[in-house]
């Protein structure tokens, strides 16, 4: 089932949560609403669910306008950040709840619950109470409970937000696989860009109640539409300088930027991703920036190096592959040369390049 979100606005008192948001969610897709807190992503999810009423605009599910339907009539599965399981019911009864309130016969309920217990890999735990489960298990019960009534849509509000790193990772992969099996149109909210990019096949970046950019993870990552998106997607290096005749001039050094060939000089902000900077013992180009190593963190798949340019007075973050790091044998205090490989420039007044 596809979802059409048309011109949704929502205000809480003086706070504008959403302003004129429109979005298409294709049938069978797995979409992530990504943004910092206060960006309106959870409000949008709750409006789709019917837990919140929009001030204006409407929501369509497969051409049917559901804006006026109450939450219980929308046939939407919803998973809450803090699970919201019924503590006094066993796992089995939690999952069965949606069918029980529809007065389904026990003969129908039992096999369906067992099937779902199998799906979320909790066979044999049907008689436990939620207090006897781990966080990851509880979230899987919540998911099974939401799926039990065969919803038209599945909505998840920061589903892994309250779990520790290892369990999060497992559940992400598992959710992705589950979606491939079930193909229920799914929207989930997250503030974790890594999670959004890993799980979703469409990413929507939100900021202060509007959509900054929507697209495939590849699109959004490779072609960030705004400085905000660029900034939000990772520890990016920011340089303020002047753009003139194919070069970005910064105090103390310059970088090539062939996309801008005008002779008139303009203020501009350049963004360089940490993995798009090369470090060398000797200058690669004339314009390579001499920097001093401040801190090295070799834990993890990339080695994170923090450097400072003494001439330029700014900190720069660079991610190196572990191989390159061993080759360079960097130690704090070493003098090296940084060469940005790729530069993204945003002009302050939305100047189109």
């Amino acid at each position: 089932m596809s979802i059409s979100i048309c011109n949704i606005s929502k205000q809480f008192g003086d706070f504008v949560a959403l302003k004129d948001v429109s979005l298409e969610v294709p049938s069978g897709s797995l979409l992530a609403l990504l943004g910092p807190s206060g960006s309106g992503k959870t409000t949008l999810l709750r409006i789709i669910a019917g837990l919140e009423q929009a001030d204006s605009g409407h929501i369509k599910v497969q051409d049917e306008d559901v804006s006026q339907l109450s939450a219980r009539d929308r046939e939407v599965g919803f998973v809450f950040q803090h699970y919201a399981l019924f503590k006094h019911m066993s796992v089995f009864e939690n999952i069965a709840f949606g069918m029980r309130v529809r007065h389904l016969k026990d003969a129908e309920v039992r096999p369906r619950v067992n099937e779902l217990l199998h799906l979320v890999r909790l066979e044999g735990l049907g008689n436990r109470y939620p207090s006897e489960l781990s966080g990851g298990q509880r979230q899987r019960v919540a998911l099974a409970r939401a799926l039990a009534v065969k919803p038209r849509l599945l909505l998840l509000d920061e589903p892994f937000g309250a779990l520790d790193a290892k369990v999060r990772q497992e559940l992400r992969t598992w959710l992705r696989n589950l979606h491939e099996e079930m193909h229920v149109t799914t929207v989930f909210v997250t503030h974790d860009q890594e999670e959004a990019f890993e799980v979703a096949d469409r990413v929507v970046v939100m900021k202060q109640g509007h959509i900054e950019q929507a697209g495939t993870p590849q699109d959004v990552f490779d072609h960030p539409a705004t400085p905000f998106v660029m900034d939000f997607l990772g520890h990016v290096n920011v340089f303020h300088g002047r753009l003139e005749a194919g070069q970005m001039h910064l105090p103390g050094f310059a970088m090539e930027y062939p996309e801008y060939q005008h002779a008139t000089s303009r203020d501009a902000t350049a963004y360089v991703r940490p993995h798009e900077v090369e470090l060398d013992r000797t200058p690669q180009l004339e314009t390579s920036l001499p920097v001093r190593v401040v801190h090295v963190n070799p834990a993890g798949p990339v080695t994170r190096v923090r450097l400072v340019s003494d001439a330029f007075g700014a900190a720069i973050n660079v991610d190196l592959s572990p191989g390159r790091y061993r080759e360079l044998a960097l130690r704090p205090g070493d003098q090296v040369f940084a060469t940005p490989k790729r530069l993204r420039v945003f002009l302050p007044d939305d100047y189109v390049i």
Partner: protein
């Protein structure tokens, strides 16, 4: 437990146990023993004659019956009050909230006097109720009314924190799964509140059994009709029949213990899902 050496905030287990036992002995066990010793001066026949007269049986029945009815009423009223105080924001909520505790502090004799003056034929309530055939003053109904008054805060104060801790998303989850309000109430909210309601019930019931001050002013203390067990004890004391008075007290105490143990057991059973 005896041998475990652990670093706790409070001093060791032995000191803690000693303290608890001492306090309980001084406050509960010694007075109880004194009662039992007093009763032991009676022969079994005398004991039975004192505690199982027709009049005494009527007082037990009224004490337990009125407390039970009052506790049931308190559970219903208290739940609703707690609900309104927790779930709605309105002007004067804090004031109402502090008003709930009033029966804790007010001398209960005052409550008894006020209610009886309201419920007599010329009183504010009585003017309306007596013509309808409802006699509040000097009746069993009056006893129930004052017991509701003194027991109400127990239910409100035990249910309130649990209601506050129930996250709103539990109700939202029920709605998303297709439950209507009625189903959400009966299947989700009440079961979650049940243990605290049971505790409130037990406290209110126990309070009703022990209540004396307010009841003597509203009940009229007519033997076989509106005489509660504590009043009978006082009546015996006034006749200098100390041993008989104590015997009735001991029976009352034994019955209270049994019924409280029963309520506690039910309460623990309803909590079994949260170890």
């Amino acid at each position: 437990m005896w041998l475990s050496k652990s670093h706790r905030v409070l001093p060791g287990f032995h000191v803690g146990l000693g303290y608890t036992v001492t306090i309980l002995t001084l406050l509960l066990i010694l007075p109880l023993v004194a009662c039992l010793l007093k009763v032991a001066t009676l022969t079994p026949t005398q004991f039975f004659a004192a505690v199982w007269t027709e009049r005494a049986r009527a007082t037990y029945l009224l004490s337990f019956g009125a407390s039970l009815v009052a506790a049931v009423i308190n559970v219903a009223i208290g739940l609703l009050l707690a609900w309104v105080l927790v779930r709605y924001e309105f002007w004067g909520r804090r004031f109402l909230d502090s008003l709930i505790d009033l029966p804790f502090a007010l001398p209960t004799a005052v409550a008894g006097l006020v209610f009886s003056s309201l419920l007599v034929e010329k009183g504010w309530y009585g003017q309306v109720l007596v013509p309808l055939g409802i006699k509040g003053a000097y009746s069993q109904l009056g006893i129930i009314i004052v017991l509701v008054f003194v027991g109400l805060p127990f239910v409100v104060r035990t249910v309130q924190p649990v209601l506050e801790s129930l996250e709103g998303d539990t109700e939202e989850a029920a709605a998303m799964l297709g439950a209507n309000r009625w189903q959400t109430m009966w299947r989700v909210l009440l079961p979650a509140l049940q243990p605290s309601l049971m505790t409130g019930f037990a406290l209110s019931f126990a309070r009703g059994l022990g209540e004396y001050g307010s009841v003597i002013f509203i009940s009229g203390n007519m033997p076989f009709k509106t005489e509660i067990a504590p009043v009978l004890i006082v009546a015996r004391l006034e006749q200098f029949a100390y041993a008989e008075a104590t015997a009735i007290a001991v029976v009352l105490m034994a019955m209270s213990l049994v019924s409280l143990a029963l309520v506690n057991w039910l309460e623990r059973r309803s909590r079994r899902y949260a170890p």
